[in-house]
């Protein structure tokens, strides 16, 4: 009798778990997989050979070829810069006795937290003719006439700095995993510090450096904010800006052509992603040593010159651009020099009280980022639980599928979203295109991987026995999820929500093609204001976004203390 009841209850529970998996599967497939399949289906609608010849005909145009060439060229140079900058700083922080390493690390990671379009704007303000830099003694002679950052050099420079943190983080993780005794053994064998670095550290770090570099490369391929602000006015088109210009110039009639362009972009990105995955799989860092990380060589008489050098570098790449941006927001209009008597908070007040599009953008972005964060975490927790605790094979496949919209260039996703949601929804007869909802759906697709990865990593580190103990107490799956898993995961869920919010709040790449009048987002408004020539207002909106970004980053780092190791991408 009791046994029969137990069996019956068990069937009921498997049912509950099955329904959960089905609902989550529908969510992931509908948002992350279906749109990308639509993109493929659009290009290859008439068959594979026809699709390939169509891509060939798009490819034959000078514009497409130039943009492809520029995309690869700019990404390669930017990656080189990222590798040099990120790798050198990571080595300097891990292997020397420099002081205030946490602050230096934060400054280097800062560009990753700042939306690309704001970075571009900040660099424009710092190097442009109005920059306060040229007011310094002797600066007058250096003041440029136009803005030298508009064009190829600027795109490469800003993207290179923007993606340097990825290389830095990959290197830092590997350097920390590198046991000190390997270096000590080289020293004991008679090599000097530089010899040990060259002979032991660098060879062991090459895979991490390459993996970080490939990540930077893929990000550069998909970057839109930087080439949009620096490349479009500088007549240096890349694939993402070409797609944007075609679609915003010709509207949905250009969909077929931009789909082909998006596919070319996706293929380049996929090559980078595949190379990175192969590299990580082949060279996964394993070490049988129990020794801790190296404590750093004493710099001796080089301590002060090295300190001065690295602080000057960090000031230049992380602090000065933001100060210049703030300066640009504090002058009454473009072209006015920042002095004590010209300083005004009028722009900052105007963009939140007088400028309709910016006001709407604040509301929209807050709403979008807030709902994207809440929904993403609501989906991530049960999905992560199915992946980690229940070891569901299907759930693991969904985990991989959720990665696709995050690692592919954002512009590819937005084309896929348009193709999917421009036609009226079956059964409802309404199109989501030109509405708030397409933005929300796109954000949900884009940022699911961000929240999910964090929860999966945190959950994988939880003691499995904690849940098993609840099972021994007689608790069923959903009761365990609610009373044990979720409360123990709360810090990770909070951090994940903040991370998704941060990403969505100033998102530009995906929004640039999906926004419509009345549904502006902050990223789009900054870009449009700048495009209209109203740099002061663009800078003012950026300053507000920066304030939110910095406050949220601070909130995440407060949470970080309660998180398991390695959960946050930039955790120290």
């Amino acid at each position: 009798m009791a046994q029969a009841a137990a069996t019956w209850v068990r069937r009921g529970r498997i049912g509950a778990e099955g329904w959960l998996l089905a609902a989550l599967g529908l969510y992931v497939l509908g948002l992350c997989v279906w749109p990308l399949l639509r993109l493929l289906a659009t290009v290859f609608a008439d068959g594979v050979p026809e699709g390939i010849s169509f891509i060939g005909s798009v490819w034959a145009s000078d514009a497409a070829r130039t943009a492809t060439y520029n995309t690869i060229e700019a990404s390669l140079w930017a990656t080189l810069l990222s590798v040099l900058l990120g790798g050198a700083v990571a080595c300097a922080l891990a292997l020397t006795d420099l002081r205030f390493k946490a602050v230096l690390a934060f400054l280097l990671i800062l560009p990753l937290l700042i939306p690309p379009q704001i970075s571009a704007l900040a660099w424009l303000s710092m190097i442009g003719p109005q920059s306060p830099l040229w007011m310094l003694p002797g600066g007058e002679a250096l003041q440029p006439r136009g803005n030298p950052l508009l064009g190829r050099a600027g795109v490469i420079l800003v993207m290179g700095i923007e993606h340097a943190p990825m290389v830095f983080l990959a290197m830092r993780a590997a350097l920390r995993a590198l046991p000190a005794d390997l270096i000590d053994a080289a020293r004991a064998g008679g090599s000097r510090p530089m010899g040990a670095v060259g002979g032991v550290v660098v060879p062991l770090m090459l895979p991490a450096l390459a993996a970080g570099g490939l990540l930077a490369f893929v990000s550069a391929i998909g970057n839109f904010g930087v080439p949009a602000l620096l490349g479009i006015p500088g007549r240096y088109p890349v694939l993402s800006t070409l797609i944007y210009q075609r679609l915003s110039g010709f509207g949905p009639t250009a969909l077929a052509e931009v789909s082909a362009l998006a596919l070319i972009l996706a293929v380049i990105a996929l090559a980078g992603i595949t190379a990175q995955m192969l590299l990580l799989r082949r060279y996964a860092v394993t070490s049988d040593s129990i020794a801790g990380a190296h404590r750093g060589f004493a710099l001796g008489r080089w301590f002060w010159p090295a300190s001065a050098g690295i602080w000057a570098l960090m000031l230049l790449i992380a602090v000065l651009p933001l100060m210049a941006l703030a300066g640009a927001a504090l002058v009454p209009s473009v072209g006015v020099r920042l002095r004590l008597e010209t300083l005004t908070f009028g722009n900052l007040a105007y963009v939140v009280t007088g400028l309709g599009s910016a006001q709407r953008a604040f509301t929209n972005s807050l709403l979008l980022a807030g709902s994207a964060a809440a929904l993403t975490m609501a989906v991530s927790v049960p999905l992560a639980w199915l992946i980690v605790s229940r070891r569901s094979r299907l759930a693991r496949a969904l985990n991989a599928a959720a990665d696709a919209p995050y690692v592919l260039p954002g512009i590819v996703l937005s084309i896929a979203m348009i193709l999917t949601f421009l036609p009226p929804l079956p059964g409802l007869g309404i199109s989501l295109y030109n509405t708030f909802w397409i933005l929300l759906l796109a954000y949900l697709a884009r940022f699911l991987a961000l929240g999910l990865r964090l929860v999966v990593t945190a959950l994988a580190q939880l003691d499995r026995a904690a849940e098993e103990a609840a099972q021994m107490a007689g608790a069923g799956p959903l009761f365990r999820l609610r009373t044990v898993v979720l409360p123990m995961m709360a810090p990770a869920v909070g951090a994940g929500a903040l991370l998704v919010f941060l990403g969505a709040f100033s998102e530009l790449t995906v929004s640039a093609l999906l926004w419509s009048r009345g549904n502006e987002t902050l990223g789009v408004v900054i870009f449009s204001l700048y495009d209209e020539g109203n740099s002061t207002a663009a800078a003012a909106v950026s300053v507000w976004v920066l304030i939110v970004v910095l406050v949220l980053s601070f909130a995440i780092s407060l949470l970080a203390r309660r998180l398991p190791r390695g959960v946050l991408p930039w955790q120290t």
């Binding site: 046994q3 137990a6 103990a469 021994m472 107490a473 608790a475 409360p487 123990m488």
Partner: protein, 374 residues
């Protein structure tokens, strides 16, 4: 309370067999320890009882009710089995009371009844009034007791303990061994305790089940296990038995007459042990230096000072490769010194003969003895 029966239980992951055709009866109210080296399958067996692992063949029954079989698996939450984990697995987001009362909350017990049962369980483990304490404010020993109280409060029919003392320091471990013993006597619960520490196993259990390679080597009360191991593995693993080749000559007055390194000795053994080559298990305490030099001729090959005594390693002349250890008080002999050994006690393993290592034939043994005399 329940008696547990396992019949022909098997578990395999891919080609690797983890539990192989294991049959075992655990009596109602018994304290059974599963002892074995790491990787012997003891934790897997425990998790099969809990319901975390399924069986590939055979069946597990509690009080006759089928729990696990290849086509039938009652999930852990429906088995009413309590478990104390090696990591304790206390939930940090709940206080002590919340941890202990969790199972009662699952069962929908009212707050008043819950409070009473929690207090009772905490009382039993010696932590009265700890309800509102946070888990991270507790010491290791206190956490251990909370884990035990959590297990008690659900009134399980079977209590499983997975190396619960592994994370405690040596002193606390001794205290907790006594606590477990007391707790078992007071509650009368059927308990299965996994450990790789034989001292713990011997001190706690009514019966010890020694496992190796997914199989049960022997199951017996601790004293019997130590005095009369049935296999080489048990002899070596429990109490570091030293195995030496002997030649069984016959039974006499309940003991066996055996040739051992060229001398005749009388050792314990099964009366039905057939004459011929066999292995004997000698403990360090079974050996002594023979007064007056009349004994097995041997030579000192090593020594290690251990505080109360010195462990001396000696090699019998008859079989120099078969070095033996014994303890001695006082100043140790020098390495290379000749001496004579006497054997007080020992156990002849039943049926565990190794033809290739069989006792030296009496002829050569006699030669060894002659060498001593000469």
């Amino acid at each position: 309370m329940a008696d547990v029966t396992l019949r022909g239980v098997r578990r395999a992951v891919g080609e690797t067999v983890i539990i192989d055709d294991l049959t075992l009866d655990i009596r109602d109210g018994e304290f059974l320890t599963l002892l074995g080296p790491s990787g012997c399958g003891k934790t897997t067996l425990l998790r099969m009882l809990a319901g975390f692992e399924s069986v590939a063949a055979g069946e597990i029954r509690f009080d006759g009710a089928l729990m696990s079989a290849p086509e039938h698996h009652v999930p852990p939450e429906d088995r009413r089995v309590g478990m104390v984990f090696q990591s304790y697995a206390l939930w940090p987001h709940l206080d002590v009371g919340g941890n202990v009362g969790y199972a009662l909350r699952v069962r929908g017990l009212g707050p008043a009844a819950r409070t009473a049962r929690i207090a009772e369980a905490l009382e039993t483990v010696g932590l009265p009034g700890f309800e509102r304490r946070r888990i991270d404010s507790l010491s290791g020993g206190q956490r251990q007791r909370v884990a035990l109280a959590r297990c008690l409060a659900m009134q399980p029919r079977l209590v499983l303990l997975d190396e619960p003392l592994a994370n405690l320091d040596a002193h606390l471990r001794e205290v907790m061994v006594d606590e477990f013993r007391r707790f078992h006597e007071a509650s009368g619960a059927t308990m299965v305790y996994v450990t790789h520490d034989q001292a713990e196993a011997m001190a706690l259990a009514d019966r010890v089940a020694v496992m190796e390679g997914g199989r049960l080597e022997q199951i017996a009360p601790p004293r019997e296990l130590y005095r009369a191991p049935e296999s080489e593995m048990v002899a070596r693993f429990v109490g570091h038995g030293q195995l030496v080749p002997v030649e069984v000559m016959g039974a006499e007055d309940g003991l066996l007459r055996v040739w051992i390194f060229g001398r005749m000795a009388r050792l314990r053994g099964r009366p039905d042990t057939p004459p011929g080559p066999a292995l004997a298990c000698l403990r360090t305490g079974d050996l002594a230096f023979a007064e007056g030099g009349d004994g097995i001729a041997a030579e000192v090959v090593g020594q290690r000072y251990e505080g109360p005594s010195t462990r001396v390693r000696v090699a019998p002349r008859a079989a120099p490769d078969c070095a033996l250890s014994l303890n001695m008080a006082g100043p140790p002999p020098e390495i290379g010194a000749p001496l004579a050994l006497s054997v007080h006690d020992g156990w002849v393993l039943p049926g565990a003969t190794r033809p290739q290592a069989a006792a030296a034939p009496p002829a050569s043994a006699t030669r060894g003895g002659t060498a001593l005399r000469g």
